[in-house]
């Protein structure tokens, strides 16, 4: 009776808009469009960064900024190095000026040992580990004083020590060199060369940089481990050395004239294991190609001047503190690090300018008294929280928009239900009716998209971008990019479609006469047994 070929001739009615256009429901339509647009704009602004890969966003923003500031510093180093550090519960992303990628814990950016190995192979960048303890602080070498390790201090007499200790307490404890952990192959790949001894192999062996050697050579070596006790500052996991007057006050100074003189001597170091303070044996002196003066001015921030630890220590730390992170993201992160480092080096080379380091810090986002650290990843926490908050707000507004859109579509369909019934009586299929309504859905989606585009652009440039710059010192670039527009487009279409689903289905479920007459046929009640 009816051929399947004939069915293909069921075409859209080109007069759909005339059928649907109505001056009624204008206010409802406009309100629906604006609320839907607001929901889409909020959602897109909140999540476009995540879609863009949050990690890259955070890293790109900071690294771009930091690289521009540390280019000259990095130029001193023979190898690329990026450090992702944390300090306690306030993680930060720190661009260290040397070049080998090291790994530590970054809040939510934690790498398993296996991932780090994969990243090494992927990026071909030597990878040494930066040590962290449960406080998130790198293992501090047991040093005291602003510039010199305590074991390296020249302490000619007890009074001087006492004065020094007093001064240390006033400065809130110790300072010292951070540490790297890796294998001999890792260090060699970084271009390090042994000046004496060997690389550390066990947990309680260390090797020193030439910057440390120069400090010992200038002022002699003092073994303070037998002469000092410590007071531990739990707030920061630091400790203060306390001179034990009951012990022999005179501490001999041993001259250091060559690299081998340091071999076998000890440093006091901090460990998570009890007792926290323990000694580490110096087994090697390494040429890290560092700027000695710079290392000694800033033991903490200058990786080339760090204490070298054995790989096993780093492995154990990473295994303990590194939950799995998406490997793709981790890999991209480190490729980005490498790329930015190279850009910085090139930019520095081209500009010929020297840029100061370390970076300034904004006080709102850190709890440390030391101004050198930039807590970009703390700001990442803030952004993460903002993203969640705005995302939740967008979901709530979107829900309201959905209800409003559904109400508007329901009323629009009701207004035109008789016309749809007449069309169906003439042979219009469900598909034809849907295509007519699709015109309305498409028009709504376009309107929502355009309004959302304008709203999101306005919100971004009037509020989010200035806020981001003022909050994060230009170190964070909250994006407005193709992802944002894509999310706006998708969100607009989804909202418009979802709002129409229920009313359209109800319309088509009714019979033609129900459409025309407007009679709603009740449901047959099931007989009770």
């Amino acid at each position: 009776m009816m051929s399947h070929d004939d069915r293909k001739n069921d075409r859209k009615i080109g007069l759909a808009f005339r059928l649907l256009a109505s001056k009624k429901r204008i206010v409802t339509t406009l309100v629906t469009i604006f609320i839907s647009a607001l929901a889409c704009a909020l959602f897109a602004l909140a999540w476009s960064g995540w879609c863009y890969d949050y990690c890259d966003l955070a890293t790109r923003g900071y690294l771009h900024y930091a690289a521009s500031k540390t280019g000259s510093y990095a130029a001193d180093e023979p190898y690329p190095y990026f450090s992702l550090d944390t300090a306690g519960e306030y993680p930060y992303l720190c661009l260290s000026p040397s070049g080998t990628i090291s790994n530590s814990i970054v809040n939510r950016h934690r790498f398993s040992f296996e991932q780090m190995r994969a990243i090494e192979e992927d990026t071909q960048i030597p990878f040494v580990r930066e040590m962290v303890n449960t406080e998130g602080v790198s293992y501090w070498g047991c040093y005291a004083g602003a510039t010199l390790p305590n074991s390296l201090s020249t302490v000619p007499n007890a009074d001087a020590v006492h004065d020094l200790l007093t001064a240390w307490r006033l400065t809130n404890g110790t300072a010292g060199s951070l540490e790297l952990a890796g294998s001999e192959e890792d260090y060699s790949a970084m271009g390090f060369t042994l000046l004496a001894g060997r690389y550390p192999r066990s947990r309680y062996e260390v090797a020193l940089s030439e910057a440390h050697y120069e400090a010992f050579a200038a002022q002699g070596y003092i073994d303070v481990s037998a002469r000092f006790t410590t007071e531990i500052d739990d707030d920061f996991g630091t400790y203060n050395l306390k001179y034990d007057v009951a012990r022999q006050p005179d501490v001999p100074v041993q001259p250091i004239g060559q690299y081998e003189d340091l071999l076998g001597k000890t440093l006091m170091g901090w460990s998570d294991e009890l007792p926290h303070l323990r000694t580490f044996t110096i087994v090697g002196v390494v040429d890290t190609h560092c700027n000695v003066r710079r290392a000694q001015d800033d033991w903490e921030n200058y990786p080339a001047g760090r204490i070298l630890r054995a790989e096993e220590t780093g492995i154990e730390v990473c295994r303990a503190f590194c939950p799995r992170l998406d490997e793709g993201r981790a890999s991209r992160l480190f490729k980005l690090c490498d790329a930015y480092q190279k850009e910085a080096l090139e930019a520095e080379r081209l500009s010929g300018e020297s840029i100061d380091y370390p970076l300034p810090l904004r006080g709102d986002f850190f709890d440390f008294s030391r101004p050198e650290w930039v807590y970009v990843d703390t700001s990442a926490n803030v952004i993460y929280s903002c993203t969640l908050s705005v995302g939740a707000l967008s979901a709530a507004v979107g829900f309201v928009a959905l209800l409003l859109g559904g109400f508007r579509t329901e009323r629009m369909v009701e207004d035109r239900e008789k016309e749809f019934g007449i069309l169906r009586s003439m042979g219009a299929s469900d598909g034809t009716i849907f295509k007519i309504l699709l015109a309305d859905i498409a028009a709504m989606a376009c309107a929502i998209f355009l309004v959302a585009l304008a709203a999101s652009l306005g919100m971004y440039y009037a509020w989010i971008r200035p806020w981001g710059y003022s909050a994060f010192m230009d170190a964070y670039e909250l994006v407005y990019n193709g992802w944002t527009v894509l999310i706006l487009f998708g969100g607009s279409a989804v909202l418009a479609m979802l709002a129409a689903v229920f009313p359209v289905c109800r319309l088509l479920r009714r019979s033609v006469m129900e459409n025309i007459v407007g009679r709603r046929e009740g449901k047959k009640k099931k007989k009770r047994k």
Partner: protein
């Protein structure tokens, strides 16, 4: 040939008892002729017409067109049935008010996947006794003109069966007479089934009259003395 078998319809109004509007009606129809379904209000005649026209779903029974049962119809088949096999004329005309007369007729062609050719539309309007100089909207027409447009819209699809639900119900007797005369002319080439409560019209124009009461066929002029020319199955 068109046939209905045990066609039944029960309505379930909210908060009220079910209403059996049609009780297992069975009738055979020919390919041509004008069939009247007579009955008082509420007897089920419009319900029967709607079921035959595919505008409503039966609770029981089926209709057959050339031996093909409506029970085998998919939703798409039913759409096609309304699109190509039948035309429907309503008491209230049910023209689309936002569209001109020509566009109303043209939509019927578009739904069949055909082009709404102006010449074809004008020819159909002429066939129903209408001629307009330019575009006219339904609200600019008289009742009789609107019903003619509705008939033209139904006929342009070239249906095999034309169903008319009280086509003269909203018209005066003179205009109603003109409309039924037009339908009578149409019935020379196709089956026309008209629902009406006007016995005089049925007697004058109908080739066959079915009487209904309380959802059932109570009389069939085929079984009685012939009314005018009898139409053989």
């Amino acid at each position: 040939m068109f046939e209905i078998r045990n066609l039944g319809k029960i309505y379930y109004p909210s908060g009220a008892s079910p209403v059996e509007a049609l009780k297992g009606v069975s009738v055979k129809f020919g390919d041509k002729g004008m069939i009247f379904i007579l009955g008082k209000s509420g007897c089920g005649k419009s319900t029967l017409l709607h079921l035959m026209g595919g505008l409503d779903r039966p609770t029981s029974g089926e209709f057959l067109l050339d031996g093909v049962s409506s029970k085998d119809f998919s939703k798409r088949d039913l759409d096609d049935y309304r699109n190509r096999c039948v035309g429907f004329v309503f008491q209230e005309y049910n023209l689309l008010p936002e569209f001109t007369v020509q566009e109303n007729i043209g939509i019927a062609l578009q739904l069949q996947g055909k082009r709404a050719e102006r010449e074809k539309i004008d020819a159909m309007l002429a066939a129903v006794g209408l001629s307009f100089d330019g575009p006219r909207y339904p609200n600019e027409l008289s009742g009789g003109q609107r019903q003619r447009v509705a008939i033209a819209r139904a006929l342009i699809k070239e249906p095999r069966i034309l169903f008319a639900d009280e086509p003269t119900g909203a018209l005066d007797s003179k205009t109603g007479n003109e409309i039924l005369t037009l339908l009578k002319e149409i019935s020379a080439e196709r089956l026309v089934v008209v629902v009406s409560h006007d016995e005089e019209f049925a007697r004058r124009f109908g080739d066959r009259v079915l009487g209904m009461r309380d959802g059932s066929i109570i009389s069939d002029s085929l079984d009685e003395e012939p009314l005018g020319e009898r139409v053989e199955d």
